[in-house]
Assembly symmetry: C2
Homo-oligomer: 211 residues x 2
DNA sequence: TAGATTGTTAATCGATTAACAATC
DNA sequence: TAGATTGTTAATCGATTAACAATC
């Protein structure tokens, strides 16, 4: 094909982007296992995804494999890290220091996967000043200052539902561009701000349909 | 159309089932707001989903609306509760009493949404016997007995990655049919067992692509 | 009645899969 | 070389959207 979109590079489907972190996680696991090479078939079997789909997805970004031998696990992982921009560490703030906020602030799983929590906030005077693992709970009134000064782009909301939209508005106004929301409520944000949701009940209800 | 699948009722696409909990959550929020009626258009605007899609999705299960007036929020919510089988309370066990396991055991958001945690397990002798909110941490060796005696069908895994597959195998052997896995690893389970995953890093990495 | 909104059909759009030449 | 596996094309499959008759 010789025609090309004038508007710029070809658009990568969102659903493809969404699978890259899954591929990356599997590749990093294989690295821990000491493996060197893999194939679209093996990766697909591990993940329950067809080999063709994995090859198709990866081909959107470049040619990372070798015919006959497959993919270097380390090389492919490195490529995906770059594509997802997680070959750097994104500093995050957590808003809401209840059970969930405290647990995610202390979560060990961010290390080596591109993220680090730098500060934990709450608006409850009873909680402000208390320690949660290595964190001191800060007054939520300092939210904007912290975000602006540290150039924070990523935040997690773990407040009650009633506060979540208000917190989101403040995060966005201070420059946050990606929000992971643990409050069970849909957020309205500008188009250029990414939002993802974690609500365990949504997942559970999806499963009980089949029981 | 007069033909009918001999194999049984028409198959509902998984992606449609996956949206029902989202609809339900929005409807329950509207109920809290004291609303009585809604429309596919309003619901769609709240959720960022097209009105046509919502009507199409719902039409897979029956006719729940009225031309000209829309949907009774309470009635539609009730119908979806039934479809998803969350018009009952599913008792759950949580395996792993670290930060995450303790937080989800105490999570207030399960109430009124069809789920209740009844027991929390860990294999660490240091933790067994300790209290976590209203729960006492039980020895993971009692897992199978508890599940069989209480007829538990739903479980959450919040162990380290290395233990997750082993725990899943034990859950399945004891009769669990739905697993929500917080460990960042893909699980292999029989076809008749549902698995859903919660890994915040997957969501975060999906967003950083666009930053 | 006039206006609004459903449920459904057909058309469109997009994603997945199958197949295979290229090549390591 | 023979075997294996990629990257890519074309075909298939499935999901979304647009449109509208039905009707509250």
């Amino acid at each position: 094909m010789e025609s090309e979109q004038v508007t710029g590079a070809k658009e990568i489907p969102d659903i493809v982007v969404g699978r890259l972190p899954i591929y990356l996680r599997a590749l990093q696991r294989m690295m821990e296992e000491g493996r060197r090479l893999t194939s679209s078939q093996e990766l697909g079997e591990r993940l329950g995804i067809s080999a063709a789909q994995i090859r198709k997805d990866l081909s959107q970004f470049g040619e990372f494999g070798k015919q006959g031998t497959g993919y270097s696990i380390e090389f492919l992982a490195e490529q995906i890290l770059h594509i997802l921009q997680v070959n750097q560490v994104w500093e995050m703030v957590v808003v809401g220091a209840g059970d969930i906020g405290s647990a995610i602030a202390r979560y060990q799983g961010f290390a080596n996967r591109g993220f680090r929590v730098i500060k934990l906030f709450d608006s409850d005077p009873q909680k402000i000043g208390q320690e949660v693992g290595p964190f001191t709970i800060h007054n939520a009134s300092e939210l904007e200052d912290t975000i602006r000064q540290a150039g924070i782009k990523v935040a997690m909301i773990a407040t009650p539902s009633a506060s979540a939209q208000g917190v989101a508005d403040r995060l966005v106004s201070a420059g946050v561009k990606a929000i992971l929301n643990y409050a069970p409520i849909s957020l309205n944000v500008p188009e250029d701000v990414q939002v993802q949701y974690i609500d365990p009940v949504i997942h559970l209800q999806r499963m009980t349909y089949y029981l």
